[in-house]
Subunit: 902 residues, 2 copies
């Protein structure tokens, strides 16, 4: 016979914390606490399997359920020394849902179940407090009416208000036992009127109705939506917890409270919590009375005059503090507790792992290692790598009032307020004058780089998580909200419209790049502070991770930031970013307008010294570490002037007609530039461009090597290769440049040549390509675009709906689509290694900074990940976690693995 019901409490305790799947989070922890000898009011849990069975069988319970519930109830009655429905000494219970994971949308709590016109008398008798008893009764009807019978809770609230008005009562505390009794009668009328049926008198009927309501709530619309979004399978089901009531509101020797075993906001190790004397749990949350601090320390911290529990109930507090230490030692993590004191006796109602801020998580995880509670590995696994972002960027003051206009994509973390500007030039001018500005564009292009640098934040109405704005902002560590589609940004009119509201140039906006929120006006921000725990944790991570973590960087500033954050090299230096400097763009444009190779070479010759300087500087900053330089990648038209003004100015300085510029622009126009004449296709068409870049790299490297006396090892990366022959041709260009430079200078250095794997065809033919590549760097941005046939610049119009509908679990530009793109990575890895076992494999797309993607890279056995400088710590932690989880950790922890509850 299947066991559908598990008892917990004094005389019979059938569950434990490992049975979370069967008993739900709440149920299994009640049983666990009970078996630890903690004072848990007895009760029982109806398993999640009953829920599954219920829906599999047309909403019918298993035959044996009723008998098992009766038996468990009897056991509770025995423990409590009272009887369910007994008019003299009634057992009252609470009924609560409890799935494996906490899940909004499910039925919440029904308290005081078992009360009716008869048993209320027993409660009066037992408690000696008629007002308490009638209040408990009306609370029961209200909760039951709301969550079980579906009566709108306003009906009940209105009834109290009306009653108070009619009786001339000002404050709730003035409501008498008789008033409550009359309100109970009115409540019952409301239930009859609204449901067409009288309020159930029989406590058993009440119990089964409440159990049924919990199971039904599993299929409520909100629960279904929540499950879909959080990928919770429907067949997990929910458990139902039935527990004997204890009362914190039976008098001045009663209390109720919630607590954390440590401060969940700072992580400090002291008992943190609140309690209320003579109150029920909901009163603490409701905010009508001001809860008091648990400890004297807490009271002093809050500068409160209200006595702490430590002071007012020293004995019970001591008991509770013992429980706190016991639970932390047992669960080896910060716990979130609920307790009630009934007539001086402590009861534990819940324990669960405590939610905490990133800062607290860091402190708790490292403290617990010092305390010997957990191992360094466990400590590392406790921290959500993403949460480190909060520690590296300014955040909005959680107490500030926000006038949220809309929400875009959280494209680059951090928050900033500033005046609206619409052009890169304005951003620069105004920033120069000392103003903080938010650069607002439909989308950004490489021409906006200097404006983005100058702005405090970037806001776009188009583009996804890997749009130009998003990628560049992340690289700069600058906050960005992208693809806020509700905004109509009219650059010409210098106006932003959102709904009926309009904002003009100079108006203040605040953006939160961690949430995507766009707010009117200025909102206070909090600056990040780096703690010693951060360094400690990073140290542990470094000792364990297998994969190298590099940064994507091209400017000296980026490179310095990368080194500060602990990057172990540059995984992607995008040389084109070096071309947008105003002094250089003229030469770049001349090169593009050249119709003959000789003219093109003349323009390139002017660029060569500049590029050499770039590379020499970069190699110097990164000295001793590898630097991967990607040769020119974007289509040439990105470098051309676009506005009429720019065009005529360029035409003038280049001594050609504006007409010719227009014509060339039109010739270079592409329908799908992402799939156009770019990457190594440029190198194949104009080898002299790559030749110049290779020469600049080798000359720069030799210069840096001489200056720093360190080994400089350039890794030259050919972009957008789709066929081996392309790489062969381009490799020859690079090798020839190396030969020439080495011969001229009479010195040599080691270098390697590899390719991006960013086209499906490159992955599919990786065996051939690997024959002439020293490394593969997976360019997962473009690989995602091509594999999914989805432009990251255009996906904002449908991708949110796609993720919402569960077509893609997550934005595939933020978190690697392991099912699709991942297959190509695996194919490329296997094929690549089949012909070149020594080939180095890495990833340099945006995914290089995403923990889930990093876990996949570890699974794939890649050698390194490369991400934007500000994500280096995140990537390091994620890489360490992945290594530990895959059993690839470099360090075998000396502590060994302590046994413990998962």
């Amino acid at each position: 016979m299947t066991k559908w019901v598990y008892s917990f409490g004094k005389s019979s305790n059938e569950g434990n914390a490992s049975m979370r799947n069967l008993l739900g989070g709440k149920g299994c922890n009640l049983a666990e606490m009970s078996s630890l000898g903690l004072p848990v009011p007895p009760g029982f849990t109806i398993t999640t399997e009953v829920c599954t069975r219920y829906y599999d069988n047309g909403e019918a319970y298993p035959a044996e359920l009723q008998a098992q519930v009766e038996q468990a109830l009897a056991s509770v009655e025995k423990d409590m020394g009272c009887k369910f429905g007994d008019a003299r000494n009634p057992l009252l219970v609470s009924v609560r849902s409890g799935a494996r994971v906490s899940m909004p949308g499910m039925m919440d709590t029904v308290l005081n179940l078992g009360l009716n016109d008869d048993t209320v008398q027993g409660l009066i008798e037992q408690s000696g407090d008629a007002r308490f008893a009638w209040d408990s009764y009306r609370r029961f009807i209200q909760m039951f009416g709301d969550v079980v019978l579906g009566v709108n809770h306003h009906e009940f609230e209105d009834a109290i208000e009306n009653h108070k008005r009619d009786a001339g009562i000002q404050q709730d505390t003035d409501i008498t036992a008789e008033n409550w009794q009359e309100i109970v009668a009115e409540y019952k009328d409301i239930v009859l009127r609204e449901t067409g049926k009288p309020f159930p008198h029989d406590p058993k009927d009440q119990l089964w109705a409440a159990i049924g309501a919990v199971f039904k709530s599993w299929m409520a619309a909100r629960a279904i939506t929540y499950r879909r979004i959080h990928e919770i399978p429907e067949n997990w089901g929910t458990a139902v917890n039935v527990q004997s009531m204890v009362f914190g509101n039976m008098g001045e020797d009663c209390a109720t409270g919630v607590a954390f075993t440590r401060d969940p906001s700072t992580g400090e190790n002291y008992f943190y919590g609140e309690y209320l004397i003579n109150a029920q749990g909901e009163d603490v949350v409701a905010g009508i009375r001001t809860p008091q601090s648990l400890t004297k320390l807490g009271r002093e911290k809050e500068n409160s005059a209200l006595p702490s529990m430590e002071e007012s109930m020293p004995e019970v507090f001591q008991q509770l503090d013992d429980v706190r230490l016991k639970l932390e030692r047992h669960y080896r993590d910060i716990q979130d507790l609920e307790f009630t004191v009934q007539k001086g006796k402590l009861f534990m109602l819940q324990t669960r792992s405590g939610k905490r801020t990133a800062k607290a998580a860091l402190k708790i995880a490292t403290d617990m290692v010092s305390e010997g509670l957990i191992t360094q590995e466990e400590s590392l696994l406790r921290i959500d790598p993403q949460s480190l972002d909060q520690l590296l960027h300014p955040t909005l003051d959680p107490k500030a009032v926000k006038d949220v206009l809309t929400r875009g994509l959280p494209a680059s973390p951090g928050a900033a307020s500033g005046a609206i500007v619409f052009t890169s030039e304005d951003a620069e001018t105004q920033a120069h004058e000392g103003h903080k500005v938010i650069l607002c564009r439909q989308e950004t292009s490489p021409e906006d780089i200097s404006g983005m640098h100058a702005a405090a934040g970037i806001l776009t109405s188009r583009g996804g998580m890997t749009s130009h704005a998003a990628v560049v902002a992340r690289g700069m560590g600058k906050c960005c909200v992208a693809g806020a589609g509700d905004l109509h940004i009219d650059v010409k009119a210098r106006l932003i419209s959102v709904g009926a509201r309009q904002f003009k140039e100079g108006d203040i906006l605040t953006i939160d790049g961690s949430t995507g929120e766009v707010m009117a006006g200025s909102v206070d921000t909090i600056q990040p502070e780096m703690s010693g725990e951060f360094a400690t944790l990073m140290g542990w991570a470094d000792e364990r991770r297998r994969m190298v973590v590099r940064a994507n960087a091209e400017t000296p500033l980026d490179a310095k930031t990368a080194r500060e954050f602990g990057a172990e090299g540059i995984g992607l230096c995008r040389t084109e970013h070096m071309f947008f400097d105003p002094q250089r763009i003229q030469n770049v444009r001349e090169m593009i307008f050249a119709t003959k190779e000789a003219e093109r070479r003349a323009a390139l010759d002017k660029l060569l010294p500049e590029q050499r300087k770039d590379f020499a500087g970069l190699f110097e900053i990164m000295s001793g570490l590898p630097v991967t330089v990607r040769l020119l990648d974007p289509p040439l038209h990105e470098f051309l002037p676009h506005t009429d003004e720019d065009i005529s100015s360029f035409a003038k300085s280049a001594g050609i007609s504006a007409d010719l510029v227009h014509r060339r622009l039109s010739d270079l126009h592409e329908t799908n530039p992402m799939l156009g004449h770019r990457g190594c296709r440029l190198g194949v068409s104009y080898p002299e461009i790559y030749e110049m870049q290779a020469r600049a790299i080798f000359e720069g490297a030799l210069e840096a090597a001489a200056k720093t006396s360190q080994t400089v090892t350039p890794e030259i990366m050919i972009p957008l290769v789709g066929a081996k022959k392309e790489l062969e041709l381009m490799r020859a260009v690079v090798d020839n440049a190396a030969k020439a430079v080495f011969a001229e200078q009479g010195r040599t250095l080691n270098y390697s040549v590899g390719t991006m794997i960013e086209l499906p065809r490159a992955a599919l033919t990786a065996d051939k390509i690997a024959e002439c590549a020293d490394f593969f760097s997976f360019g997962t941005n473009d690989l995602t675009q091509t594999t999914l046939g989805m432009s990251r610049d255009d996906a904002a119009s449908f991708l949110p709906a796609y993720v919402g509908a569960g077509i893609y679990e997550r934005d595939p530009f933020s978190s690697l689509d392991t099912e699709g793109v991942g297959q190509l990575i695996e194919i490329a890895r296997d094929k690549g290694r089949s012909t070149n076992n020594a080939i180095k494999l890495g990833i340099c797309g945006e995914h290089g900074g995403d923990p889930a993607s990093i876990a996949f890279c570890e699974k794939m056995g890649l050698d390194y990940v490369s991400c934007s400088p500000y994500r280096v710590p995140i990537a390091k932690l994620a890489a360490a976690q992945a290594a530990i989880r895959e059993g690839n950790s470099k360090t075998i922890a000396l502590q060994g693995k302590k046994a413990g509850v998962a």
Copy 2:
């Protein structure tokens, strides 16, 4: 000891036709003819392995070569009864290159080798003709000087002219023996002057120099280029043929000629050829004298007064005619012959498979089956499917003079002349007035469809083989030259510039869509004629092919054409083409501008009856055959007005502000529309669009079924699926529409729902997608774009260079990239069948009409191919050939396989 030299001729014949790789094409056929007992002047072939060995060993010959050559030469001397270098009775030889395949750029021929100041006397003696002997000598020096010593041939020609001028000679026939002798002396001076060395006297030196020149020419720039283009491996090498000379210019009983065993232009079975009395081979080609017809029939056909060989040399002719029949029976194919008659004796100098026109190929292949020479299978394999295009479209008159301006891509076959127009509207207006026009655009868009229909041909300056213009033109069977990048088409100025030339509206151009040529003025064209042989061959193909051949069609005209060409259904009906009708586009635009679902539905309701009519018509025309309808695919902005004029006119009729239209246009703008909000992404965002289309399909199908009393089986295809969930969602929309329509009408029909596989991710996750698909149709256009990361609209700027450099063997948009895209097809096939064994697999991209791609589809075991209506015959033949080659032919040929030379 390796055999490096193979003799052929009377006494020793060591080779045969199967030794083509070793002896080259010329050498093996000389040996083969010789072994058939035909009169072949004796000689020997130095193998291709010597060539390979020569280059592998730093341009040195194998040690044994000299002895083997000496021995073979001795055998020739013995057969001929004369001696190499003998002053009395000298052996003279020719030296020719001969690779496996005929290869321009290789050394051609040196004749009369062995002559010097001594042996010329022997030739005088033997021939009794001093003028002939000295003429032969000077011809030898000239050829040897040119091709072996590298002396510019103008030097020799100038010498003759100068001599004639100085001697007052008007005509070549007036040059005397003495004149030739003096010219020989001058020639030797020229050689000494130009090379610094005297002309070699010793015939052995001459021979080895000529042999060396042949081998060296294997590495000549032109030969290398040719090999790269035609993918001929370098290590094939060339053979050298040394053959004793026979002379057609020794008197009136001598002659030389070339012949085809049948008419290579029409395929008629009569002896076709030309000869000249008293001439050497080069004279026939040089065009100084008018060659005479071989046969009386030929002479009469040409209306010539000059006697035929049949008439003037009846006996030798009879001998030659016997040889002709013998060779055809032996080789079982039309032969291209060279012969010489020396003093009344016939010598065969060459036989090879004859080049022929498509028309001739068809007739010969079918005739030879009737004649019992070859099997139907062989007949099918003899025809290049591509060549059928010549039979289905007008071609340029080969005799016409052409003023070629430039060459674009041969995007859609056929040729046409017409007046230049620049807009679709002008094309329609002028065509309506009876003018033939060429629509000239930078690129075309769906808005140009009606103009393209009206035009005689389409010319674009941008776009590749699968650009919009190319695809649509092929579908219409209309000639098109695409991506002619040298043209600057200025629509505003109504001017086309190419180099320094300009053409304005109304000027006449001619385009040849089979070659890509763009010509000034009008060029005569020849209309195609379909022969009975065509039907015969198609019948044989139909009996053998395994794959079904369908057509891509959406208009009634296309569908009718498809049926006429024998399509077995529609594989791709692009519903969006139905939306561009002027009456409908307004409704489509209203739908796009709707901001609420209700408004969108109202606009769709107006479209529904039109779509229903479309489908009913299509199903009726195709009745009894399956029709695959693809739901809306292109991004919505393709339907929006683009010019200011259109915008204001639409705004007016829709009753909204032009400003709003501009705003919506800007909102819908995409950076990479190919990767944007299109395909099923539209269906996911706006299910009501697909719902309307599905309803129209089912209503139309029921209507057509009732009308024709035939089974109508719609196959509904969801485009651009990348994840199973997308297909699930869209399939539900279709199934619900079916349910609703069937319920309303009280009738049902069978239908199926499938998807395009056109994204790499779809192929990679085909196992999951197949779980809810009835069929996969490989959309290889988009699959190529995404797999290669290459926009077909933009590839014209670099793809020709890519194909030229051998990065891709062929334009991957014309011929499937089997190495890359092919892998995804294989993955999708295997994964798809792993979860749905009954899944139907087909291809509907442009590649469906490309023979090489069709061969790949056969290899993959696909069920059908679908191509444009005009390519259906090509696809059928290609499918039959592929089935035969893969051993999948449906018919086991009754004839059996006749043994024969390959």
